[in-house]
Amino acid sequence: MDLLNAFVSLANYVLIPGIAYGSQLALGALGVTLVYGILRFSNFAHGDTMAFGAMITVLMTWWLQSLGVSLGPLPTALLALPFGIAGCILLLLATDRAVYHFYREKKAKPVILAIVSLGVMFIMNGIVRFIIGPDDQRFLDGERFLISAGDFKKMTGLEEGLAIKTTQVITVITAIIVVSLLFWFLNRTRSGKSMRAYSDNEDLALLSGINPERVVMLTWVIVGALATVAGVLYGLDKSFKPFTYFQLLLPIFASAIVGGLGSPVGAIAGGFVIAFSEVTITYAWKKVLGYMMPDSLAPDGLVQLLSTDYKFAVSFAILLIVLLFKPTGLFKGQSV
């Protein structure tokens, strides 16, 4: 019984939040890694792209809610998601036409494109704040919990509760679906293969008759979809606030780099590495150990390796260590 309590407590505070947060980071990192792999620059505007897609979804959700449309226990935002994706893709294609296209024609260096994306980031930042404002917005409806901590305790008679939020389940399921679709597309379809060919060697791809503009367009379409899905899932699980999307950029880039920039598998692995390192290393083991050890040995202190203040330091330390020993990241991406 005590072992079960220990496990439930660990699951509730470490495993479940870690998996949900990891999935959100993984989806964000996939977008970053695709842009890096195919368009060959670090897209700092990715966080705000997520905010833009999520914003369109939020606005559509409110509109649907005002019409009385709902998905029952599921959040209405899932219905609004396609509109958000479409809006985000339009924005990205317009940005590409207006900004990135110019630099691509000039064969600008990646570092210039990265700085350009920084400028794009600030513009998107402004657009989102202009339309929806800087405040917290809530758009979650439907059932909040699949199982709440209180219900779990009643059901099982354990001392520890296990809460699983609907949004956490949706996050993980959607992430699995989106990732499998992406891999199927990249590995099995002609367009996906042409994207990979373009990523491997631009000139060779050009010679074999691949239209680069089409590849670029496809990339932005996929990135727009990924960014919106990631942004909406994050917004549903936590809350929508433009500033936090900007802050998400850091862990997302860390994930993409740990996994290996340009490698989709790496992006997913990186997302989970960063998420779990933030949650586990600073976890206070007092409760878990208290259940597992006999009463006489139960710890008085918090049994915390590092204070939670250091959680970002931890994930960046991991980033540094990985890059020292494997400069291309865990899954052989391109060297940075």
């Binding site: 405040d135 509760g161 809350s239 600073t282």
Partner: protein, 394 residues
């Protein structure tokens, strides 16, 4: 030609002189940043006091007062100092109502107000550290120090019979100052703080912090943070995982946003904010509502009082020079003299003009103690049926 030049030069001088006679007040709040939702009502309060003075014929010999706003970003000291420099050197303000958050206020005081000799009255910077700054008599606040709030919080918990709490604070001067002041008072009264840990504002995920606090345990989670920032994230995280269901909200958390977003979810949670009982607040509420802003907003009454104090002190000193009127701030704020409530600023000006004395009470029952800070009355609130209800004053 020479005559024309002379004439125009003289005219320019006259214009300059006439211009300089107008009194300007800087309003230096965090219009952006973690407390951006509080600042509009605060600025409205300060500007409302200015309008009242102007309607009564202005200060001294009918000089009109105008307000110039500056942004501090609340947690951005360099922005705050730059804004303050602009207010002082280019707008030439005669006094500053602000800053808003503790860290930024300390920076502005050290780097702009003291070197330039400008009076600052902050309505909302509550860090205990500001009590001991060498301020040349230039700094006052119409809000109490958090050392007092910490004691009030300990009293509230003791009265409720709660002896074990976990504390999470926003990692800045305000959060750390209040969390430490509270821990000191609470443990002295026999309570236990299981954990006193920081959270960063505006982060993507708070499960690590919530997990650690849940391990530490405690009956109540004291959230010393900002409702627009990490505070909200910590509450959501704790509620979602079932780690805590009762919270204590200090002043940075209590706002309409809290009521709308967490009112029904945190039934029975409680907190406090600086706010006085008596006629002052009621009068101010009526006046403010009629003027079209929300006078119940946190620190809005204090802002009104801060602006009123500066202007009344000018009148009492017969000068708009900060180095002259700074000595009069304590005089107009405290007894002896006729009590002045909101809406009676015109009367106060007249009394001072006639050589009398006033005891400014204002919207937040101002009583300046020690180094020029409010003695502090707190309104205790509790979430009942999804609504935030006032249950008493301390």
């Amino acid at each position: 030609m020479k005559k024309l030049l002379m004439a125009s030069a003289a005219a320019a001088l006259m214009a300059g002189a006439a211009h300089a006679e107008d009194v300007k007040l800087g309003i230096l709040f965090g219009f952006t940043g973690p407390l951006e939702s509080l600042s509009p009502d605060m600025a409205a309060g300060a500007e409302f006091a200015i309008k009242e003075i102007n309607d009564a014929g202005g200060v001294l010999d009918g000089q009109m007062v105008s307000a110039v706003r500056g942004d501090t970003g609340c947690i951005d000291s360099s922005l705050a100092v730059a804004s303050a420099e602009r207010l002082i050197t280019s707008d030439k303000v005669n006094g500053i109502v602000g800053g808003m958050c503790s860290g930024e206020t300390g920076a502005v005081l050290q780097n702009a107000a003291i070197p330039n000799g400008v009076v600052m009255i902050s309505p909302s910077a509550t860090s205990p550290a500001l009590s001991t700054v060498e301020d040349n008599g230039l700094f006052f606040r119409t809000s109490p120090s958090d050392a007092r709030q910490g004691q009030v919080m300990a009293d509230i918990l003791n009265d409720r019979g709660i002896s074990s709490v976990a504390v999470t604070y926003t990692n800045n001067d305000y959060g750390k100052g209040l969390a430490d002041a509270f821990e000191e008072s609470f443990t002295k009264d026999g309570g236990t703080v299981t954990m006193n840990a920081a959270h960063e504002d505006g982060k993507a995920d708070y499960s690590a912090e919530v997990g650690a606090l849940a391990s530490a345990g405690g009956d109540v989670l004291v959230v010393v943070g900002y409702i627009d920032q990490g505070g909200a994230g910590m509450i959501s995280g704790a509620l979602d995982s079932g780690a805590f269901d009762t919270f204590m909200y200090p002043d940075g958390m209590v706002s309409e946003t809290l009521e709308t977003n967490f009112g029904s979810l945190t039934e029975g949670s409680f907190g406090q904010l600086p706010s006085a009982s008596g006629d002052g607040p009621d009068l101010y509420n009526e006046l403010g509502k009629a003027a079209g802003f929300d006078p119940t907003g946190t620190f809005s009454p204090e802002s009104y009082d801060a602006a009123a104090l500066i202007l009344l002190a000018m009148q009492a000193a017969g000068s708009t020079d900060p180095n002259v009127y700074k000595d009069k701030v304590m005089d107009v704020a405290n007894a002896p003299g006729e009590k002045i409530l909101p809406g009676e600023l015109g009367k106060a000006l007249q009394i001072l003009k006639d050589g009398g004395e006033v005891d400014y009470v204002g919207a937040s029952a101002v009583e300046l103690i020690g180094n020029g800070e409010s003695a502090g009355t707190y309104r205790e609130i509790e979430m009942k049926g999804g609504k935030m209800e006032t249950i008493g004053y301390r």
